[in-house]
Assembly symmetry: C2
DNA sequence: TTTCAAATTAGTAATGATTACTGATACCAT
DNA sequence: ATGGTATCAGTAATCATTACTAATTTGAAA
């Protein structure tokens, strides 16, 4: 029941916090493996889920079928590059009145929303025509 | 190369078109099976993918790990009930200036967005307190 | 500091959604 | 009617994720 410290969990959390992009469980696994050569993928998943449940990480589903993890736990929007698939945070305020707009003529109750933006990232813009 | 008619594909398309909700591949499978008792799940997936690629259906990923299919192919937002998981279309115009808002201070190019709204559907609102 | 129950781990097996493969069948232009 | 090819049913494979288990860590109390 009580949460106990674990070096693995700490390393996983540290790693995600150093990243600006949004690593997948497998990417976390590959990297934490440099410090803990025989950590198992299951341990990575279990701790990522645990940290997300505790609110220390954000579990992200941008629609490519893989879960990503984000150390920026405040609500924010995401950009997904259609060329390279990279995921970036967008630093604009959440549009709360978007909920009201969307709720016009809707009989249920809207409490929140999430949004993803698509296009070309700065890198892909300069690389190709 | 050339597309050939198939009774199974037609039945799959017909079924999705009659539905207001957003059936998963398995739900399509269960229902089309009444007309084609030994249709295979692979056939359902192949045709749903094919129809989506042709633009006759929309493949939806609302973040619950299952793909859903939507016969309403015009761009629109979706509502997901946090109680029962049901998915509904929202009939409000797409907010195109949302792209501009989100792009403030962003170095890439934003071309489109998708959004999901969360809360309680009309049914769940009246069922419980 | 030793002890010991409980939490965590590594390793592996299981699950669930989706895709790929294969030999048989259905479609359709000739 | 026939032949070429798209599609099918059935099944195996893949991929991300979760569950299981015996062994190891952790931390608080003796």
């Amino acid at each position: 029941m009580a949460l106990k410290y674990s070096r693995q969990r700490e390393a996983i959390k540290e790693f995600v916090m150093t990243r600006e992009d949004h690593p997948t469980a497998d990417e976390v696994y590959m990297n934490v493996r440099q410090e803990f050569p025989n950590i198992s993928l299951g341990t990575v998943y279990r701790n990522l889920t645990l940290l997300s449940d505790m609110g220390e990480l954000l579990r992200l589903r941008v629609g490519d079928g893989v879960d990503r993890f984000d150390a920026a736990t405040h609500p924010h929007y995401h950009f997904i590059c259609q060329e390279c698939g990279s995921v970036e945070d967008l630093n604009v305020p959440i549009m709360d009145d978007f909920n009201t707009h969307a709720g016009q003529g809707f009989k249920g109750q809207i409490l929140s929303h999430s949004a993803q933006f698509y296009g070309k990232c700065a890198n892909c813009l300069k690389t190709n025509s």
